[in-house]
Symmetry: C2
Subunit: 314 residues, 2 copies
């Protein structure tokens, strides 16, 4: 992708070493940043396919498998399959697979869940992957109390994940492989054709502008993560990841706001903040009520609702 | 006011005689119309200042009195005063008043209320002004069951009433004097800077475009009512009246939708339909909830609310 005028490079920082550095130079700005040269332990050297197979290869995990590189959560062009980590790593790291579900060139994506079967706990690599967890040093950018989850992500080359937002600040630690990440400011939400927390614009490089004409107004923040890089993704920033190679990453989420604002039943860090979820529900109720009126009245009062909300925008 | 390209003349109809004519040629179009040549009784001939004084001059009424011709309900540039109808008519029909509250050239506006003291009933001229009610024939454009109110309006020359909307279909029967009425389609609500049911744009002829830049996008529907003319004002159509001379009019409202949609405590015909009022309240609740969040989050979710509402606009 060319860095056109609507494309901003995510700034690269080499000098973020302490929590204070992070809070005052990075987090408070509410913009993404790539932190390079942080001490994240030996994982970059150690986590070869052989090493991971040896230490966690026996564990099972649920993965997304798709024949298309652009995974589409809205139209669900993938299947969930369960495999051993050994097999996942073997297949994900090979372009043409010996064993496959649908076709030799299929795409794999692992996002670790909790070991609790129904997924009603948050992912924590120190629990699910204790065998390798000591290899990685999670930067101490937040209070232990605020820790929410650490998620292991494994992608085969070419996997591109739908643009979405999470509601917590998080860091994406690229351990193996290279990944392009495109981010969008939360204030660009109007141009992203959201359905819940996911954008309907799957192809962000060559979007269908007849379907998504406003998308061109969104400003892309772009970076390419190398092994060892840490990307800060502020809460609400939309992001789209593209695995340029087979890769392994750890994504760490924490509660950057009052804990009471978060939904206790959120195990992924993407449920809307409680007051926001209630607000959205109130708006749905308003729409339902207006749907009972004749069209002219409905439109009129929808517009009154819009005007009342617009007054409160900054 | 010039009829510029953003100005449409309200069509004039001479051939509306039956309820069916009215419903199929006028009401169902949801556009204003001036009906001329209707039989509205002898009121146009009879209701001279002397005649009214003789028959209803002894009754008292509450009026708006202002030193400014443009009455402003938002900033309340008027006082409520109580006078006998004889005195109201005497003062309202004279440019320079012998007796006055503030200054010889002050403006009077009467909108009849119910005789019940606290105004907790609707106005009905057959009750409040039984002495003259038989002089006017209200066109039978609606079922008796649907009748809501009939309001006597007396204005001194120059009185201009703030742009507002009512929630019921109504007809304004101009009995004495001439009145310019400017109307706006409900779909132009976004350009009218509404505060509740009232527009903040007081001077619609020479609006302050630094304060109200969008106002130029609103299309004016204009008519000048002569004695005997009947203006159909569809529910939700914004209207602004300017008394070109001293004038007397009767305004008749009826429930054009299911009765259960209307607020039982509405005595003026301008309280929002019940589902709409609830919807607006839901939106206010949503805004209150979002006000508890940090600014970035608030803005983000306000925009999500906007998007959700916009999807339902036609």
């Amino acid at each position: 992708m060319n860095l056109s005028k609507d494309c901003i490079e995510v700034p690269l920082y080499y000098n973020i070493h302490s929590k204070e550095d992070f809070i005052f130079q990075i987090q408070c700005k509410r913009k993404p940043a790539v932190l390079r040269g942080l001490d994240i332990g030996d994982c970059c050297e150690k986590w070869s396919a052989e090493y991971l197979t040896h230490h966690i290869g026996h564990l099972e995990a649920k993965i997304h498998v798709s024949c298309e590189s652009k995974m589409d959560f809205i139209n669900k062009n993938f299947s969930y399959k369960t495999l051993s980590l050994a097999e996942i790593i073997k297949r994900a790291s090979a372009t043409i697979k010996e064993n496959y579900f649908f076709q030799p060139q299929e795409y794999y994506y692992l996002r670790s869940l909790s070991s609790e079967r129904r997924g009603r706990e948050v992912s924590d690599i120190t629990k699910q992957f204790a065998q390798i967890a000591d290899d990685i040093v999670i930067p101490k950018f937040f209070n232990d109390d605020d820790f929410f989850s650490s998620v292991l992500r494994v992608s085969s080359e070419g996997v591109q994940l739908w643009t979405h937002y999470d509601i917590m600040d998080n860091i994406l630690i690229q351990v193996k492989g290279r990944k392009r990440v495109v981010l969008f400011d939360p204030s660009d939400i109007s141009y992203l054709y959201m359905e819940g927390d996911k954008s309907r614009v799957l192809d962000i490089d060559e979007p269908d502008l007849t379907l998504f004409p406003e998308f061109t107004k969104a400003t892309k923040y772009v970076c390419t993560l190398e092994p060892g890089d840490v990307l800060f993704i502020p809460a609400l920033w939309f992001h789209n990841t593209l695995a340029l190679t087979y890769g392994v990453a750890v994504n760490v989420f924490w509660k950057n706001l009052d804990h009471e604002l978060y939904d206790k039943n959120d195990f992924y860090g993407n449920k809307d903040l409680l007051p926001a979820a209630k607000a959205l529900q109130n708006v749905e109720n308003a729409i339902k009520l207006l749907n009972t009126l004749p069209p002219q009245y409905k439109d009129f009062y929808l517009k009154r609702c819009l005007k009342n909300i617009e007054k409160h925008l900054q």
